[in-house]
Symmetry: D2
Subunit: 138 residues, 4 copies
């Protein structure tokens, strides 16, 4: 298991007239969570695209909206890998408000596509090499 | 069962650098689907908020991303109610591209909250009255 | 002068907690205005990119926010070309609410870039040919 | 004059199929700039709304797009007040890429509206008190 936390503040343009963080914006919070997790492993999604030619389209998304998040709340996005990625990678996400209450929980599954051939491929070695020591240790 | 179709074109600002409709924007397509379904029943979500004082926060969202949607595609959003709403209402959504291929499928569950008391309530009669004849007929 | 009108409804996800259409979303309304104007001339921005290899990055944007637009308002976007495009093209935009009151007015200037060479070029002939008869007639 | 810098990374969902930060998203970067400037003065826009009942709708926006910003760039937003606010407040904004090159420059003018009366009012004293010593010193 590998977990990583990052923070993001709710902006005015992300609220709706209920005064809530609009439900459609959580997908971007999930994106931030997984991208910053990769960065914490010494890898960037940008380099995966640019240097390895690997795209990661989203296959599925599941979200539960537990309680509202409000304007200017600094939310904590906790992103977890429960197992080593293979043909797909699933990130589990929990988002907490400043009172450490759960706001949103869910998961997002992505696959790996070689840009040139437009075919799905396995998780690139560069990512697996970084994850294996973490998962072996547990 | 009650089904309704509406259309929405993919805008430039909704694409990402893969050239796809960004996965986070589908939630807004789902919103458009359910709001236009309500309008087709002679009801608006706006009047539910303003006249009835009922808010409809989203409880959960599930989406499968079947194939990409591209810039300027006019997508068809098909929204379906499979049963009468009670304490919650679930909209099933399928989004098709101009070649009638499935792009995205999922569901979104909402509840009804009385703005004044901030308590969950049952589906308002004004909506049930419109739906009952449709569901009774089948 | 060439003018074109198109409509777009304000969606829940576009409102903010003031209950207004968030100011940052008007840029997308401007995009819709100019793209639908091109379509009314028998041309698509999509084909300019795909078939002609011409990109149109935005150079500048000016907007006055005259009065708020609200949830579910069906706004009218009126887009006007005041002169034939050359190295740049400027669209003047006025957005009206359902009571025909001015909501927002402004302009956006774009240039033409050849994707291959990454150099600015003149307005493509395919667009000029469609505009010249309109401007000559006046 | 009072200047403040804050950072924001370009997210995937903010890019478009040109691979650029979509022009419509800069308005939110401007929002982040001015809100973080207020916070640097010991004030939050949230408290202005909640505690003082003052809303700040945007009156006008001007932006020049100097060069593209790209995915994953950590941009620096520099926000400047050139004079004390009165009936309106104008923020001047410059956005720089990681190579310190200017990406975007512009300004945004807002007014102060008392929520209860829906009337425009002067800049609240709480903000002026924080700014006066800074402007007097220069």
């Amino acid at each position: 298991m590998y977990s990583h936390k990052t923070k993001k503040r709710v902006r005015y343009g992300e609220t709706d007239q209920m005064g809530y963080l609009y439900y459609g914006h959580y997908a971007q919070y999930y994106e931030i969570g997984r991208v910053e997790m990769l960065r914490s492993l010494g890898m960037t999604y940008k380099s995966m695209e640019k240097d390895l030619g690997i795209l990661m389209p989203v296959m599925s998304l599941q979200q539960r909206f537990v309680r509202p998040a409000y304007y200017d709340d600094e939310l904590t996005i906790e992103t977890t890998l429960r197992k080593l990625p293979g043909e797909t990678i699933t990130f589990y996400v929990e988002i907490f408000n400043p009172d450490s209450q759960l706001v949103n929980a869910g998961s997002v599954k992505l696959c790996f596509v070689e840009e040139k051939s437009e075919k799905t491929v396995n998780c690139p070695d560069q990512l697996l090499e970084r994850l294996k020591p973490i998962f072996d240790g547990h």
